[in-house]
């Protein structure tokens, strides 16, 4: 009986394996699309750029060979794929697509994203954890700029972006599942990472909050690297339409408020008007409390630990005074950020998700005008800062 059971288990496992060979197409006959870039086309409405990888079967190992970039124009994604398929000796597969880059002008209304979510993606079987990036330069340039000698592979790169987002707070991360939920529920708006290639002023975009002489924005950073593409800041949306941008500094605040933040070096203007960085770490999960009434108030309870790496910038200041100074600077910047987002109608703080808790029936949920309530909602930022070192001594002391 034991042998019979083992045979049955083996048979079940074999059946699962057999079903992988329903067609005679070998895995080396596929070209895997790792990333897709979306731009406005010259002749047709859209220009699509695909970063392709192939299985390197000649090396005898199941690994991806180097990337290749191809472009096609079309009135829809399907048309572009058909055009590409006709010119390539390979079959295109989207099962490994992890990155979607959209040029910012495509997002001036919600048509593009809605089409992408509602029609193209369910038919192309792109995974719902694929990340969306908004490009201030052309998406084709961004994809070409990601191509380096290091060639870490896009899956690895996506993982690194997620870690980067958590560890610096300079970019938010958004995937197709979140975008789909945002469209289906309308309970919150998305913030997508911004990218661009090095140029003087890519896309002519500025931070929507303003007042920062050196705003970290993709393509505007003073850096020189092997990769031309820079990623910093956030594109903020209202109902699927891009309505503004946030610099990396403001994105850090946003990430801290929505709980998608572990630690970051945040730039503060010091008392002597010198720029200093303070390392902030999350002490506990941010709480968002929304109280109803004619004038709703949302309270963000943010608990952070601060570590001053340049204590000589605070001469004669006690720990309590430094904590109060950090708290007040953060509060002012938060209020500016909240006011800017609210004026743009972008509920990137996710206040609408708290409104869902008011609803007992689907009718109430459907009739709830999240945007109207958000426009009325005032914010209180209850920030508690604990210094992990005294400002009048160095870290070593």
């Amino acid at each position: 009986m034991r042998i019979r059971c083992l045979m049955l288990a083996a048979l079940l496992a074999l059946c699962a394996c057999f079903s992988g060979c329903l067609r005679d197409t070998g895995i080396d006959q596929y070209a895997y699309v790792s990333a897709i870039g979306f731009d406005r086309g010259e002749k047709l409405p859209y220009k699509y750029t695909c970063m392709l990888h192939r299985i390197d079967y000649q090396s005898g190992q199941s690994r991806l060979a180097g990337a290749e970039i191809v472009t096609a124009e079309g009135s829809s994604l399907f048309e572009a794929i058909n055009t590409l398929s006709a010119s390539l000796p390979l079959q295109l597969s989207f099962v490994r697509t992890v990155l979607l880059v959209a040029e910012h002008s495509l997002l001036s209304d919600d048509t593009f994203l809605r089409q992408l979510i509602n029609t193209a993606l369910p038919s192309l079987f792109i995974r719902y954890n694929a990340s969306l990036f908004v490009s201030l330069s052309s998406a084709e340039q961004v994809l070409r700029g990601l191509h380096t000698e290091l060639d870490p592979g896009l899956v690895k790169m996506q993982e690194n972006f997620t870690t980067y987002s958590k560890d610096t707070g300079l970019i938010p991360m958004v995937n197709l599942m979140t975008i789909s939920e945002s469209f289906a529920d309308g309970a919150f708006d998305i913030a997508a990472p911004l990218c661009g290639v090095v140029s003087d002023s890519p896309g002519g975009m500025q931070d929507s909050v303003g007042e920062d002489p050196y705003a970290y924005l993709g393509g505007n950073l003073h850096t020189v690297t092997d990769m031309d593409t820079e990623i910093a800041g956030a594109a903020i949306f209202s109902g699927g339409r891009m309505v503004g941008t946030l610099s990396g500094q403001n994105t850090q605040l946003l990430q801290m408020a929505v709980g998608e933040f572990d630690r970051a070096h945040v730039r503060f203007g010091s008392a002597q008007a010198q720029e200093i960085d303070i390392l902030l770490k999350r002490r506990s999960k941010t709480k968002i409390i929304l109280s109803g009434g004619e004038r709703p108030v949302v309270t963000f309870q943010i608990r952070i630990a601060a570590f001053i790496e340049q204590p000589d910038m605070f001469p004669g200041m006690r720990a309590e005074q430094a904590e109060e100074w950090i708290r007040s600077v953060l509060e002012q910047r938060y209020l500016r950020l909240y006011a800017a987002c609210r004026s743009l109608g972008a509920d990137v703080f996710g206040i609408g998700t708290e409104m869902a808790l008011w609803c007992n029936t689907a009718e109430q949920m459907e009739s709830l005008d999240v945007k109207a309530v958000y426009a009325q909602t005032e914010a209180v930022f209850d920030i508690d800062v604990k210094l992990t070192n005294a400002p009048d001594t160095s870290a070593i002391e």
């Binding site: 059971c5 079940l12 079903s19 995937n175 599942m177 309970a187 808790l357 007992n360 689907a362 949920m365």
Partner: protein
């Protein structure tokens, strides 16, 4: 006599029942129309499991009281030989449809997300290849294979629940118990279909699980564990997808593993899906075997294999039919989903009530 029943131990029986309950609830609960007015699936699973257990315990008690060794004997004892044959036939048919319904969803998931370019008919061949020998080998082989497969299948579901942890949000469960009582009752009917068939299987194979008394005990354990696990699963799905999103999805369980953030989990979805497929095929085969055994006991046939082979083919045909884009097929699936559970409840309660009016009679131990 080749009924292929034999006897299985407590662990085999419990794990077989858990396996069927969890895999069925993972794939059957959550039809798109169930989420029009809110997500109640986690609650309906709980009520469905509770209703199934109560009905099952009543029937098991009736069998004990009248000294019946299996469900067919209860039918015959309560209603007489000819009505018992009809009830037996109806039970067999409902079991075949109960085996087919989750397979329709599984085949859809395989076709839509994995084997995009292949036809459903090509995939169904592999379902038949798996179902046929499993059904023909009988209860002992099924029970012992379930003993091996159950833990990996549950671990795969648990891994799915853990992978979703960073994305869980309570607000997605709102409106809580949206849809009201009618919607909850309809969904409870579907949940009954997830939990009652395997409990009935224990009664049909009463002698194989050492009598109705032992079956009642095993059924209680299996429903508590399987039901609890299924509630957890539905809560996890509900905290990742809002009811509006669930209303547009075909396979929330698989969508959940597809949506986890990048990295090493990237290709885990297919591995998990195939582990679940193994579990669901085994569960379907067990139900088909129970249908065959019930059919043989009803019509006093001595060999379960022809019936098993026929039911496997019928089940595969039903699975294929479930993919036909015709309105009447969709209607038939909806009717089966909503009312099969109710019919199964009737098939257990009716003879049980009749038997309670009769004098208590116990079977001697040697006959069990």
């Amino acid at each position: 006599m080749n009924l292929r029943q034999g006897r299985i131990g407590n662990q085999e029986a419990i794990r077989l029942a858990i396996l069927i309950g969890v895999t069925n609830s993972a794939f059957l609960i959550g039809r798109r129309e169930s989420f029009q007015t809110g997500n109640q699936s986690y609650l309906s699973v709980l009520t469905g499991a509770a209703v199934s257990l109560v009905v099952f315990l009543i029937a098991a008690r009736a069998m004990q009281r009248r000294g019946c060794g299996n469900l067919q004997e209860l039918y015959a004892d309560a209603l007489g030989t000819v009505p018992a044959m009809l009830l037996g036939l109806l039970t067999s048919m409902l079991f075949v449809s109960s085996a087919a319904l989750p397979l329709v969803r599984v085949l859809f998931t395989l076709h839509r997300y994995i084997f995009v370019d292949s036809g459903v008919d090509m995939l169904a061949i592999y379902v038949l290849i798996a179902l046929l020998p499993l059904t023909l080998f009988g209860l002992e082989a099924l029970g012992r294979t379930a003993k091996m497969v159950c833990v990996p299948v549950l671990a795969a579901f648990l891994l799915m629940i853990l992978l979703g942890l960073p994305d869980y949000e309570v607000y997605r469960l709102y409106p809580l118990i949206g849809g009201g009582t009618v919607s909850l009752l309809l969904q409870t009917g579907i949940a009954v279909l997830c939990f009652l068939p395997q409990l009935m299987l224990l009664l049909i194979c009463g002698r194989g699980v050492h009598g109705a008394g032992n079956a009642a005990r095993l059924g209680g354990f299996a429903t508590a564990i399987g039901g609890g696990f299924s509630v957890l699963l539905q809560l996890a799905i509900g905290m990742v997808f809002s009811y509006r999103e669930l209303g547009r999805m075909y396979s929330p369980v698989y969508q959940l593993v597809m949506s986890v953030r990048g990295g090493w989990q990237m290709r885990l979805d297919k591995i998990l899906l195939f582990i679940w497929v193994i579990g669901i095929l085994l569960g379907a085969a067990a139900l088909l075997y129970a249908a065959s055994l019930q059919f043989c006991l009803s019509f006093r046939l001595r060999d379960v294999r022809p019936a098993g082979a026929v039911f496997s083919c019928v089940c595969t045909a039903l699975v294929l039919l479930g993919h036909e884009p015709y309105a009447h097929v969709d209607l038939a699936v909806t009717v089966l989903l909503r009312f099969s559970g109710l019919a199964l409840i009737g098939l257990l309660l009716l003879p049980s009530l009749f038997s309670f009016f009769r004098k208590e009679r116990r079977l001697c131990e040697s006959a069990v």
